[in-house]
Symmetry: C2
Subunit: 143 residues, 2 copies
């Protein structure tokens, strides 16, 4: 039997591992897809700008088709989990900002943990990122 990969499987296969930051990217990419709606014109390209470099970027490459090679995935380093989406040829953009409280929740001192404890801490963080209410995850602005 042939079963198509889920979007989550596609992202994790491409990225190569499961971690909290790819989970943030996965959820942001899904919200962006929902909020952006249909492409305004066939020639219009979605440009994604991330205000920090992290594993999250790989989710936009797979789910929003904004790839590093093609040049429509960009990073402006401000150490902020804020992501901006805009179709070329349009004036309105979409900005998704991860809640500071959610990021605080992820900060753990991994140095003093065993590998097993680290894995459990990661798993808990991923479940929280993917499962928490959307208003606790991010704010969405049309700019």
């Amino acid at each position: 039997m042939c079963v198509e990969k889920t979007p989550w499987e596609q992202v994790i296969d491409f990225h190569g591992h499961t971690c909290p930051e790819i989970s943030i990217g996965y959820r942001v990419a899904q919200i962006a897809t929902r909020e952006l709606g249909i492409r305004p014109a066939p020639s219009s390209e979605l440009v994604v700008t991330a205000y920090t470099h992290s594993c999250a970027l790989d989710a936009f490459q797979v789910l929003n088709r904004a790839t590093y090679g093609r040049g429509n995935l960009r990073v402006e380093e401000k150490q902020q989990h804020v992501y901006h989406f805009q179709y070329t040829g349009t004036s309105e953009g979409l900005q998704i900002s991860i809640q500071a409280e959610l990021l605080d929740h992820l900060v753990k001192d991994h140095d003093q943990m065993t590998t097993r404890e680290k894995q459990n801490s990661y798993l808990e963080a991923i479940q929280y990122i993917l499962g928490t209410e959307e208003t606790l995850f991010c704010t969405i602005q049309k700019l």
Copy 2:
């Protein structure tokens, strides 16, 4: 019936269009896979450094599993189609340099062409990149 995508289809699906530079990346990625052989240790990561930013990068993301998000695909801009591959924890790297004559062959003045002429010129370049003898395509060095 379920038919798995070919490596070429995987790359083009991810990249979003067919062009000469993604074809260069595709062929380089395939040569690197052959030359690098097996991963030296399970924890070892392949790091790809490109000496120019172009569409070619997306092929390394798909075929060599060196992604921009994970940070093992890097660009040091020198305007050269030279690509360096190295597993972490090893001292030997692999460098693949595209032949200058091949790049000269690709330079066309597209501004004065019709869309159809441009498409034909692209297709011809892609066929040349993928089909030309390997010694005319690149030089391979173990460093």
